[in-house]
Symmetry: D2
Subunit: 311 residues, 4 copies
Amino acid sequence: MPIKGVLRPGHVAIRVLDLEEAVKHYTSIVGLREVARDGRGRVFLKAWDEWEHHSVILREAGQAGIDYMGWRVTSPEVMKQLSLDIIESGLCSDCKWLPAGDDPGTGERFSFVIPTGHTMELYAEKEMIASEVGYLNPEPWPEHGVIGMSPTRFDHCLLYGDDIDGTTKLFTEVLGFDLSEKVVDKNDGSLAGAFFACANKAHDVAFIRYPEKGKLHHISFFLDSWNDVLRAADLISMNNVSLDIGPTRHGITRGTTIYFFDPSGNRNEVFCGGYIQYPDKPVIHWDLDELGKGIFYHTRQLNEAFLTVVT
Amino acid sequence: MPIKGVLRPGHVAIRVLDLEEAVKHYTSIVGLREVARDGRGRVFLKAWDEWEHHSVILREAGQAGIDYMGWRVTSPEVMKQLSLDIIESGLCSDCKWLPAGDDPGTGERFSFVIPTGHTMELYAEKEMIASEVGYLNPEPWPEHGVIGMSPTRFDHCLLYGDDIDGTTKLFTEVLGFDLSEKVVDKNDGSLAGAFFACANKAHDVAFIRYPEKGKLHHISFFLDSWNDVLRAADLISMNNVSLDIGPTRHGITRGTTIYFFDPSGNRNEVFCGGYIQYPDKPVIHWDLDELGKGIFYHTRQLNEAFLTVVT
Amino acid sequence: MPIKGVLRPGHVAIRVLDLEEAVKHYTSIVGLREVARDGRGRVFLKAWDEWEHHSVILREAGQAGIDYMGWRVTSPEVMKQLSLDIIESGLCSDCKWLPAGDDPGTGERFSFVIPTGHTMELYAEKEMIASEVGYLNPEPWPEHGVIGMSPTRFDHCLLYGDDIDGTTKLFTEVLGFDLSEKVVDKNDGSLAGAFFACANKAHDVAFIRYPEKGKLHHISFFLDSWNDVLRAADLISMNNVSLDIGPTRHGITRGTTIYFFDPSGNRNEVFCGGYIQYPDKPVIHWDLDELGKGIFYHTRQLNEAFLTVVT
Amino acid sequence: MPIKGVLRPGHVAIRVLDLEEAVKHYTSIVGLREVARDGRGRVFLKAWDEWEHHSVILREAGQAGIDYMGWRVTSPEVMKQLSLDIIESGLCSDCKWLPAGDDPGTGERFSFVIPTGHTMELYAEKEMIASEVGYLNPEPWPEHGVIGMSPTRFDHCLLYGDDIDGTTKLFTEVLGFDLSEKVVDKNDGSLAGAFFACANKAHDVAFIRYPEKGKLHHISFFLDSWNDVLRAADLISMNNVSLDIGPTRHGITRGTTIYFFDPSGNRNEVFCGGYIQYPDKPVIHWDLDELGKGIFYHTRQLNEAFLTVVT
C-alpha cells in the first residue's frame, strides 16, 4: 500500500446541545446517514460514499465543541508503533488505549491530547458499511440517495488552539504528515496557522493559533462541484440554517466552499476542489496579513466570525 | 512524508510523426508549456500547476506511440531499493540505469520493461519549475495563463498489453500500488483490465489486456470541472481536432472525460473528478461484459476505437 | 404586454405504445408531474415551474409520434384574428375549432394542419396550476420536488416534414415568428431546415426537411445548467433509458444537450443554454454540409439516427 | 416579429471619474470591447455577442452615476408612436428628440425623463457590429476572445428613485412592459420595488424606492454559467477590484450573481440564469421584510451597501 502510517481522518466526535435537532441537521440538511446509537446516547453517522461504520459522532452535552478526532491508520502494527512514537515524543498528554467496541464498530483506539489541547486518536479497524453504490459495476452516485447536501465524505477539521509549534512538530515529525500550507506572521516569524496533509488532499487537518485550547472552527465535508456548493447554499436558505459565509473560494487550498452552523453553533463546511498535495510540493506560504485572501479569497478579508466564533 | 515509494507518474515520453505539429497541439490546444529542447531533438513540456521540469516528452519518429513512462519516487534511497526489488522479482527485463542529465533537468533514472512490454522508469530528482501561481500568497489559477484546455497536470496513462497478470503482480507486490479497480472476464476469471493507484487518485496507471505488447491507449491530463470538459470539447471542434468520444463519464473512476487524438494519432484525454482511493477501499470489480458502462458510462457500450485504436 | 400574438409552445400531444410505461418515463425519469387523466384515457402532465394546467399529453396508440402541438396565444381576440389569418393564407388545411374542455383545463382551441403535415393549434386560456415554488417570496427551486431530470418547462419540438417552404411562410408571415436560424443546401439554395422563435428563445419550434409528413424528431425540456445535463445523462444510464447521443453541444442555438428515447421510441431532449433571440438579430445561416457541426457540435457529424429515426 | 414595441435595453451611458481607468475596467476586467470614441470624449463599448454598435457609453465627469438608459424599439414608426404616448401620458418631462449621429452609429433618439428622475431614451436604428462568432456556421464562443469576465451582453439596470408608482404606470401602461416582480411594504401596501420585463428576461430594468431621484444601483451583464460567476469573482480578486457581495444568488429572478464596483464607484453586476418571463406569468410578490432573501438569497439579509451605496 502506498500511503503509510496515517491514511485519513476517520471520524470526528462533536458535542451538541440538542441531540435530535443535531441528528436532523446532519441527516436531512448535510445528508449524512444515521448508522447507529449506543448505550451512552451517542449517534453515529456516515456519508454515502464512505466504507467505514461511521465518520461523525454526536453526543449531547451542555456545551458545543469537539470531543475528539480519529485517524485511520494502515494497520494495528503501525498503530502500535505510532503510539510508542507519540508517547516518546513527549509532545502529548493523557495517552491511553480504548478497547475495541468502546465506539461501536471500531477496534482499539489510541487516544492522546495534542499540544493545542485537542484529543486525537488512532484506530486501525472499523466495521465496513459499503458505499451506497457498492463495488460491483457501480453507478457514480446513488440515484435515490441524494439527500440534503449529499457530501461523499467527512474530509477534515480546522481546529483552534495555542501551541501551534508543538502541534506542527507532532504532525510532521511524529505522525509523518506533510505541512502543505502555513500562515506566518512577518513581524516575528511565528506560525499563525498550519495545514497538514496525510496524502494527496490539500489538508486533512489544520490549525489556527488561538488563545484557548481545544476549540473547533469547523468540520468539513466534500462535494463534487461548485454547482453542489450552490445547491448547498440554497438548502441553507430553504431550511433557515445559520449561514457564516459563502459561496466563496479559499485562497488556501483553492477549494470552493460554504461555511454554516449546526443548531448548536458548531461550524460546518461543505467544499469542493483543492490542488493535489505531494511531499515534494513546495510548502505554500501565506503572510498573516494576507490571511483574508487566504481564507475568503473573494472578499479578501476575514469576517469577525472567522477569528472569534468557535466551539 | 505520508506516501512512501512511488509518489506519482512524473513524465511520459511519446513518439510523434511531426514534431512541430505535435508541439502546437500539446501547447496551444492541450495547454502545456514548452520548457526545453535537447540535443536529440526532443521537446519537454509541463502543465501550469506542476512543479517539476517537465511531464511530457515528444520525440519525432516514424511511428506514434509511447517510449516510456516515468515515476517520481520519494528519494534516491527508495529508488535504489525499488530497483533491487524490481530486478529480484524477475518480472521485468532490460533493467538499466540512465545517468543524470540524460533527460534534461532529471537525475538518475532506473529503466525497466514490464510484463506488458512497456518501458517504465523511476526517478527521484528533477529540477523545479514552480507552478505558475507560485507558492507565496498564491492565486488559484494564472490569470493570463489559461491557454487551450489548461489542465493542471499530467495525470495518468492507459496502456494496452498482453501480460496483465505479471504487470499486476509487479505494480501491487513490488511497487506497492493499490489495485483500485479490476475488470474480470466471468467466463474464466481472467483479468481483462487493472487500475493501479499510488495514493489517493482513482488510478495513476491502468492496463487493458491486448494481444500486442507496449501499446498506448491514452495519456491523460486533469481538469478542474465538468465545465472545463465542455470547454475542451468546444476547443476540439474549433480547432478541428480528431475527437474520439465525449463529453461523457467513465463508470470506472466516475470521472468526466473527453478522448481525442493528437496529430500523430496518439489518444489524449482530459478529465475531471474521480473518487478518492485508499488502500483499505474495497477493490471495485467490473464484469467484462459491463466494460461498456465502465468506460463510457452514458452510452454503456465500447466504441470500436476503444478496443482497436492504440499507438 | 410585450410579446404579441403567439407567446410560447404550450403543449405537445404525443402517442405512446404503452401508457403506463410512458407515464413512468415522463414522471420518474424526465420529472414531469401527472396532473390529470381524461375520459379518453389520456394523461396530462406539467413541469414543476410551469403555471398552466399541462404541457405534455400522452395517448396510447398503435404507433408512436406526435398528435398535435399547441401554442399559447396572448388573448381570445388575438386567437380569433390569427385563426382568420391562417385560413386566409391558404397554407393550412383541416382548420377547425375545438370547444373549451375538449382538453381538460383548456379553453377553446383552433386546430390547423400545416404544410409539413403536422397538426398545430392555438389556445388562449388554460387553468392555472402554479409553479411549485409559488409566487410569494419564492424559493428558486422546490426543495423536495427534484424528481428525475427535473426540467423547468416543456420548451420546443423539432419536427420533420416535406414542405419546409410553406411552413416557413406560415410561421414567419402569418404567425409572426422570427426565423432565428436556417439550414441551406448550397447546391440549389433550398431550405433544409428552419428554426422559428416566438420571442427570446433561440427557437420555439424547428423543422428539418424530410420526405414524409407529420413526423416528430424530438420534444424538448429545459434544464438550468450543463451540470444538470450530466445528471440527466447519469439518470439515463441508471435507468437503462435508450440514449441517442450526448452529453454534447448543438452548434445551432449553442445549447448543451442530450437526446434519448421514451419507451415508445419518441425522442426526448433535455438541454440548457442558447443565445437570446431578437427580431433584429441577423438570421444564422448553416450550410447543409455543416449541419453535422450544427446539430452535434463536438462530433461535427450527424449520426444516422438524426436523419432517420423519427416517430 | 413577435416582440412589439420595446425590444430590450440597448445602451446605458454612465459617468466615470477617470476615463482611462474606467475603459481599462470595462475592457480588461469586465471584457467589453472598445468600439469608438467621439468628439465629446466619450467612449463606446460593446459585449462580444451583441450585434449593435455599442451598449455602454462612458463619459468623464466630476460625479459618477447614470446619464441615460436607451431602449431598442422595433421600428421608427413604433418609436414615433411611443413618443406620442409618452408625451400624452403626462408622466415624463424634458421630452425631446436627438438627431441621428448624436450618439455615434445611432439613429434618432427620443429622450424623456421618467418619474424617478432617470433619463431614458428610445431608438430604432443602430449600426451593426456583428457578434464575434458571426452568423455563418458560427462557433459558440470566440476562441481567442475570452477577455475578462467575457459577458455576452449588457442586460439590465437597477435604478433607485422616489416615484416608483409613476414609473410603474409608465413602464406597464405606456411602454407595454410586464411587471414581473414587485416588492411591497405590508404596512401600507406601497410599492418598494418593481421589476419590468420587455419579453422573456426576468427583468430588463428594475427600480427600488429611494429618497433621491436619478440614482444608479447597478448596470448588469450576462454570463453563461455559475462557473463563469466564480471565474468573475476570481478575476475581481486577482485585480483588486472592489467587491460588493457574491458569489451568491438572488431570490428575485433566481439568477446567480456577483456585485462589484468600477473605479468610480458605479456598481456592476455579472449574473447568470433567471426564470423565463411571459405576460401571463403571475406577478411574483415579495414582502418588503423578505427583501433580504429577495436580493441576497443566501445571506437572507440586505447589506448596508444595498440600501445606501448608489451613484
